[in-house]
């Protein structure tokens, strides 16, 4: 079943709000905790993209179906942002061995 435009719009708006909140939280953790600093650049990119998706979904609500490409742009921004979140997790996994090694003797600086 192909979802209707209004349903996609709803998914886009709710998705962008949730994604923006989530990425802002992760960004905050990345900036305050050394352990999560490894993936700060991809998280920052994801936050920017999610923020744009939030703006585009707002624009879509205001302008309506006449500019449906904005809705598609919202979904693309959400998708690319999600790829960046995955990338940040990957960067963390790359460094996990070194972080654990350091943690064993020097917990105070983490």
């Amino acid at each position: 079943m192909i979802p209707e435009t209004s349903e996609i719009m709803l998914i886009g708006i709710i998705g962008s709000i949730i994604a923006t909140t989530l990425s802002l939280t992760i960004l905050n953790i990345s900036m305050t905790h050394r352990l999560f600093r490894t993936g700060i650049t991809p998280v920052l990119m994801a936050t920017l993209l999610f923020s744009f998706s939030w703006i585009t979904s707002l624009v879509y609500i205001i302008t309506g179906t006449a500019v449906s490409w904005i809705l598609e742009l919202t979904i693309h921004l959400l998708f690319i942002g999600a790829i960046f979140i995955l990338l940040s997790i990957f960067t963390y996994l790359i460094k996990i061995d070194e972080i654990l090694f350091y943690m064993r003797g020097n917990k105070r600086t983490l």
């Binding site: 600093r37 650049t41 998708f79 690319i80 790829i83 070194e98 090694f101 350091y102 003797g105 020097n106």
Partner: protein, 213 residues
């Protein structure tokens, strides 16, 4: 329609955009993987453990190689001292000390545990050099490290009879990380007993420091 929201084409476009963004970040010299401790941190191996850890042998540098590289780099920038917290003065540490004293004319500050596991001749030779400052701690330092300017080599925890197998080399450590390790070095060095001449040492192949002298 500007985009297509369904199908493989859409996925390819999105992944392509991600790759383009990553290339742009790389060109702008913005690091994609940020190191949590400094500019770059790498795992290192001990030269003595190469036979046991065949896997590590092929892709990890030895602590000695890393230290030499960093010393060369830092001396060019004007660094004149190296700080070492050690348990024993094993062959690798001796090699580094000799390299610093003889080839680079650097000051070497070292604090170690009683019973250095260092041949007397070598130790006498080091002590004769005015740039070598040795102090002996009553308590074994738990975490051994070498501080070369802003770079730190952290050894894996090991006992007196078993040299470390793995270490972590941090290049250009962040200020707080460097401050933490410098503070530890300074406190151990301050509390330790200074060795001013070879008269403070036993005449044995493995030097044993005589407390109270």
């Amino acid at each position: 329609m500007v985009f297509s929201t369904s199908g493989i084409g859409s996925l390819v476009i999105d992944v392509g955009i991600v790759i383009v963004i990553l290339v742009v970040l790389k060109m702008l010299k913005i690091p994609i993987v940020v190191d949590p401790f400094g500019e770059k941190s790498v795992h290192l191996r001990n030269v003595q453990s190469k036979d046991k850890d065949l896997f590590n042998k092929f892709w990890l540098k030895t602590g000695r190689e890393w230290k030499k590289e960093i010393i060369d780099k830092e001396v060019k920038k004007g660094l004149q001292e190296i700080k070492i917290v050690a348990g024993e003065i094993y062959e690798g540490t001796r090699e580094t000390i000799r390299y610093c004293l003889e080839e680079k004319r650097m000051k070497v500050f070292i604090v170690a545990e009683q019973g250095l596991k260092c041949p007397t001749e070598d130790l006498k030779e080091f002590i004769a050099n005015s740039n070598f400052k040795l102090r002996i701690s009553d308590k074994r330092p738990e975490h051994h490290k070498t501080i070369i300017g802003q770079n730190i080599l952290l050894e894996e925890y090991h006992t007196r009879h078993d040299p470390y197998k793995k270490a972590l080399g941090i290049e250009n450590a962040y200020a707080d990380v460097l401050e933490y390790h410098n503070d530890i070095f300074n406190s151990i060095f301050r509390d330790a007993q200074e060795i001013k001449s070879d008269l403070d040492l036993d005449e044995k192949t493995v030097c044993i420091y005589k407390p109270g002298k």
